[in-house]
Amino acid sequence: MKLNYSLITRRTFLNTLFGGWLVAFCSGTFYALMKFAFPTLGKEPDFVVLNKKDFTGLASNSIKRFPWGGTVGLYYTKADGSVIALKGVCSHMECNVDYKPAEKRFYCACHQGWFDENGKNVAGPPPKPLEIFVISEEGEKLIIAKKGVKVELPKA
């Protein structure tokens, strides 16, 4: 089909071309800037390896802290002597939780959240329980891992 008249003027065509170029240039620049500004993120560890002897003979009804990536894990010896390991970060706003031996509960000072002996959220704003880790031993090493993670230690 032949049109007798042009659908767009030369001016419209050029404006669109230059405008499009400008938008493309600016968005490319912005993308590059943001790409640099956005950090390359680390990853939360799947497991950490600790020295077993640091964690033996702990008093019952107490916690011992260990580094879990950039945050904290708690090695918790219950009053009956059994142990569990949990992530010491409140599920509400990510503050570190503290253990209250008298109440046998975990407490977050930021917004008054409470968790029971098994890390279950029992009072205050926390929406979820504390994350429970799996404890295993290998020789002198104590391995604390996320649930469902297969631990493969590098061969020394």
């Binding site: 503050c95 930021c110 926390p126």
Partner: protein, 354 residues
């Protein structure tokens, strides 16, 4: 002062008389609410103090996770007048935020945001947001326990925002958790990125105010008001008020220097009865109202969304308030303004007392 040769020198290059005439032509109406006009100027003055005292401390502060806390202790204990300038910067920030809120609610209740001044409101609102981010980022630079927990909560709270939350959170933190990367990032925001944006926005805000002239409250618009020249009458009043504010500021600075807590330890729990800065208390109290779960949904996300909506509505008030933009009385928006103000005040007080 009379230097005819200097005056001639300038006259040959610039149209000096036209500049003078322009300055003389600026008039400010006089009425019973004109005290509110000074709140913006006070905030501006406090910003100048923040810039100067901040520049001074930047000469000595070390933005590194191992040295930041110690460098502040050294600024306060070893440098000449270090304690004074750190305290001045702290109290200057508190007063600046306080006057920003006073300026904001004054503008809101007198409806100075109405047509044609919507963009003055928009620039001012963005400046308030930036100032709060100034407060948050400056606070982390102490790298003490309270700052550490506050930053985790604030950035984590942003992370609860649906869809883009994780992006904002990672962007702010510079890593998965609040670490030395976050400290460096907040330092860059605090001393480079935010100040330059602030300067630009203050320039635009003030320019727009000059362009539109001073807003007169709706009830007085029809009356014939006396006009006072800005130079020198109002300007001198400004200076007098700034001097009084300076007096209040220095009194706080000298009598109540801020503390610095124990150095942040990512393994340690935050101190008991930890509280954020006073201008975050209303947010904290709002978050506390929500249970962890509402109808199977994350209560935190709902809380953050509701707060975001309330702030967005507040921001858009000039565009919703059709009546006052037509020059009619708009009692509905007066009530909305009063409700916002009362909510902010009540929640702040409750947060302070609990």
């Amino acid at each position: 002062m009379n230097c005819p040769r200097l005056k001639d020198w300038l006259d040959e290059r610039y149209d000096w008389d036209a500049i003078k005439k322009l300055a003389k032509s600026k008039l400010v109406p006089e009425h019973r609410y004109d005290l509110w006009y000074y709140t913006g100027g006070i905030t501006f003055f406090l910003f100048i103090i923040q810039f100067v005292s901040g520049m001074l401390m930047a000469l000595y502060y070390v933005p590194h996770v191992d040295f930041a806390h110690k460098s502040i202790i050294e600024i306060v204990t070893k440098l000449n007048m270090g304690w004074f300038f750190r305290s001045l910067h702290h109290w200057g920030a508190q007063l600046a935020i306080a006057f920003l809120f006073i300026h904001l609610f004054g503008t809101l209740l007198l409806k100075s945001y109405r047509k044609p001044r919507e963009f003055v409101w928009v620039t001012g609102f963005v400046l308030l947001g930036i100032s709060i981010f100034f407060g948050l980022s400056g606070y982390l630079l102490l790298w003490d326990e309270r700052a550490f927990a506050a930053t985790r909560v604030a950035t984590g709270g942003a992370g609860a925002f649906p869809f883009i939350g994780w992006f904002i959170k990672a962007f702010l933190r510079g890593s998965m958790d609040v670490t030395g990367d976050t400290l460096l990032r907040f330092y860059a925001f605090h001393v480079a990125i935010l100040p330059i944006i602030t300067l630009g926005l203050i320039g635009l805000h003030v320019l727009l105010v000059q362009y539109h002239g001073m807003s007169v409250p709706l009830t007085l618009e029809k009356e014939k008001l006396r006009q006072a020249p800005f130079f020198p009458n109002v300007f001198y009043k400004d200076l007098m008020i700034w001097l009084a504010v300076m007096g209040i500021l220095v009194t706080f600075t000298v009598l109540m220097p801020p503390e610095i807590g124990v150095k942040a330890d990512p393994l340690a729990p935050p101190p008991e009865n930890i509280k954020p800065e006073w201008y975050f208390l209303f947010l904290l109290q709002t978050l506390k109202l929500f249970p962890g779960e509402i109808l199977g949904l994350n209560g935190e996300t709902i809380a953050i969304l509701l707060v975001a909506c309330a702030i967005l509505f507040f921001f858009l008030i000039p565009f919703f308030d059709r009546k006052s933009s037509r020059g009619e009385k708009s009692p509905l928006f007066t009530w909305i303004g009063v409700i916002y103000l009362l909510y902010f005040l009540t929640m702040t007080v409750v947060g302070f007392l609990s």
